[in-house]
């Protein structure tokens, strides 16, 4: 964009200072154009970000609120404890089908007690307003506390995904006509129940804490296992990648001789950072699962793969920040008789720390959002059981947040769109927290020289 200087003429320039002649005018126009391009680029990126965020939040915010049905329920001993001896082993023989009958009776009774019209709706359809998860919830509650048998309790259960969708605007009377899972009459009843206070929309902690649920009960699906799995993997990445990466970079930057071998290593580290993540997944599958026999779907394998992926990022960031420490600091330390290791650990490393931490956290944030390699090692499996506490839990099957998003989007029920967006919001919240931590650490440790 720069204009070559024209040969200077010896004659004094004509014209006045107040009216720019052609050359400055062209230069100024070029600068204005360049600024306009820049502003446009920034504007477009902000627009894209806003669209993305508003779409994700618009779709996903609903996942945190869920429709609940709250009814009085008298636990009938004839159904839940047919032997009548409150023996927990006997009571376990009653399946959710039995509890389903109990729920159906209570729902019908509650609707009748509220004086709501139920013409054209069978008892089974009334009970169908509840999630299929409700019977299991009730069963667990009774088995946890057998003393409840015979008592009247207030039972709060998830509503069916279609009912939930109806209150969130996803399901309409028209779509219900075509839907074999729900009838317009049921939705009408649900509307009346809401007006009667039997149905409420409330914050649903189980979205964050609960485990995944099957295809037919989107209302019960939660992220607990995925969040735990991701957290375990991040712990593994931090514990392995940070010390290994920092040690490798310190050696390469400060101690290693500069020769062809170190050049080769340097080039390869830079290349490793650019290797597609799925390749790391195949590598991990071959080495960690097939050769070393580590369990599938386990955070330990995912963590190891993500460590391999994060290492080049950390090494590059660390080397850059080590190289950015002025050599005069090394000279000063060596000059008073410090050994090279003392010079590095007492003076160079503290100065490079903000850069190292930022690089590490950015690398970890990238690892947190990584999906492809985890699919290959089986973390895509449907996992309902929570992994145990670490360290044993590192070897238990778990899911991961991005994989959970992928999982949700694979499912047919439109209610999972909301779940997937909700999971993305959680993932983004984690990423924002990590980046904020990076900024805070940077500020805290930054020193001037």
């Amino acid at each position: 964009m720069t204009d070559a200087t024209a040969p200077e003429s010896q004659a004094p320039r004509a014209g006045t200072l107040f009216a720019p002649d052609n050359r400055p005018r062209r230069r100024n126009a070029a600068e204005r154009r360049f600024r306009a391009y820049g502003l446009t680029a920034v504007g477009l990126s902000i627009l894209a970000l806003v669209v993305l965020l508003s779409s994700v939040i618009g779709n996903g915010a609903g996942a945190f609120r869920q429709t609940f049905v709250e009814i009085p329920l008298t636990l009938d001993a004839r159904i839940v404890d047919p032997k009548g001896n409150r023996n927990i082993d006997e009571m376990k023989k009653v399946t959710t089908i039995g509890y389903g009958r109990q729920l159906e009776a209570s729902m019908v009774a509650a609707v009748a007690a509220a004086g709501l019209k139920t013409e054209g709706i069978s008892d089974k359809d009334i009970a169908g307003l509840l999630s299929k998860e409700a019977a299991a919830t009730l069963r667990n509650r009774v088995l946890a506390n057998p003393a409840l048998v015979g008592e009247t309790i207030t039972f709060r259960a998830l509503a069916n995904g279609r009912v939930d969708g109806f209150f969130k605007g996803r399901v309409t009377m028209e779509s219900a006509e075509l839907d074999s899972n729900v009838t317009p009459e049921q939705l009408g009843l649900a509307q009346r129940m809401r007006e009667a206070g039997l149905i409420t929309l409330a914050f649903n902690p189980d979205f964050l804490l609960g485990s995944d649920a099957s295809e037919v009960r989107p209302e019960a699906a939660g992220l607990g296992v995925a969040i735990l799995g991701s957290a375990y993997m991040m712990i593994i990445v931090l514990v392995l990648a940070l010390p290994i990466g920092v040690a490798a970079s310190i050696y390469l930057e400060e101690f290693a001789p500069k020769n062809r071998w170190t050049d080769l290593i340097e080039v390869n580290i830079a290349n490793l950072a650019a290797v597609p993540s799925i390749v790391f997944g195949i590598l991990g599958l071959a080495i960690f699962i097939n050769m070393m026999g580590l369990p599938q779907s386990a955070p330990i394998v995912g963590g190891l793969i993500l460590t391999l992926m994060t290492l080049p990022t950390i090494i590059i960031a660390t080397r850059v920040s080590l190289a950015a420490v002025p050599p005069s600091i090394r000279d000063a330390a060596l000059g008073v008789g410090a050994s090279r290791m003392q010079a590095v650990f007492h003076h160079v490393l503290p100065l490079a720390l903000p850069g190292i931490l930022t690089g590490t956290i950015i690398g970890m944030a990238r690892a947190l959002g990584e999906t492809a390699p985890l699919l290959l090692i089986g973390m895509v499996a449907f996992v309902r059981e929570y992994p145990a506490a670490p360290p044993e839990g590192f070897f238990d099957p778990a899911s991961a947040l991005p994989v959970q998003v992928y999982n949700f989007t694979q499912r047919a029920d439109p209610a999972f769109v909301e779940r997937a967006s909700g999971a993305i919001i959680v993932l983004l919240a984690f990423l924002i927290c990590m980046n904020a931590a990076a900024i805070i650490l940077r500020r805290r440790f930054e020193r001037r020289w």
Partner: protein, 265 residues
């Protein structure tokens, strides 16, 4: 002189502290310094002068093996400190640098407090057993570097917050805190204004009582002001070495004369 350690190092001014014989320095294949023979005396200020790139800084950095940190740098010939070859395989450069301190061209205090800057050397060399002893060393070093009065109330404030001249005196204090026997200074005043330069020069003159000081300088006036002996380097060779007065008033070599009178360099 509140430190007993200096008492046993009073030596005669004619004693040879550092001797170089046929010293050669190569940077890779580039023969940067050829056949340097110099005797640096104890309790003397020796100035190295010469045009840029003549090898004077290179030679200075040979004297405490700072060149070891430069990849591809090779030193041949013999350089001795008190008769011991400093390039002997048994010599630990770390120990050598505790005896031969160095002050650099640009003030380079650590981004730590003034106190920690001065205390760092004594700490890593284990020169003090207690906090009180370190306090004492820090105070005496700062006093000898003529910085105590300015710094005593702000010992815990960062060394990088001082002015350029103060920073350089802090670096001198840091170097003398490890009680070296020789102090190497690589253009210590090139980044300073005339007033700060004058203070440093005065300081160098005082330091001569305790150390052998070797100073590389671009300013011939400075060499004439502070040094007793001067070495003139040109194109990687030591051209002339002798009494400062003789070098500046009656140089034997025509190249020295040309440089001194401003015709080359």
């Amino acid at each position: 002189m509140d430190d007993i350690r200096y008492a046993d190092r009073i030596v005669s001014a004619d004693e040879v502290k550092i001797a170089a014989r046929k010293a050669q320095v190569y940077y890779g294949t580039n023969h940067a310094l050829r056949d340097v023979d110099v005797d640096i005396l104890g309790k003397t200020v020796t100035a190295f002068i010469g045009p840029s790139g003549c090898g004077k800084s290179t030679f200075l950095r040979c004297l405490n093996r700072m060149n070891d940190t430069i990849p591809g740098c090779r030193v041949e010939g013999k350089i001795t400190l008190d008769g011991q070859d400093i390039y002997d395989a048994r010599v630990d450069p770390v120990q050598l640098r505790a005896k031969v301190g160095m002050v650099f061209q640009k003030p380079n205090p650590f981004p730590k407090s003034i106190y920690d800057n001065v205390a760092y050397g004594p700490r890593i060399h284990g020169l003090a057993r207690s906090k009180a002893e370190i306090d004492e060393i820090v105070e005496s070093a700062l006093r000898r570097a003529a910085l105590w009065n300015e710094a005593k109330d702000r010992l815990s404030s960062p060394g990088t917050g001082l002015s350029g001249g103060q920073q350089q005196r802090l670096c001198i204090a840091r170097a003398i805190a490890t009680s070296p026997e020789v102090l190497l200074m690589d253009e210590p005043c090139s980044a300073l204004d005339p007033i700060a330069t004058a203070q440093i020069e005065e300081l160098i003159d005082e330091l001569r009582a305790q150390f052998s000081v070797v100073i590389v300088t671009h300013s011939m006036q400075q060499a004439a002001r502070v040094s007793q002996r001067t070495a003139f380097f040109h194109l990687g060779r030591l051209v002339e070495y002798g009494e400062t007065g003789q070098i500046f008033t009656n140089p034997r070599d025509p190249r020295t004369e040309s440089y001194i009178s401003g015709r080359i360099g």
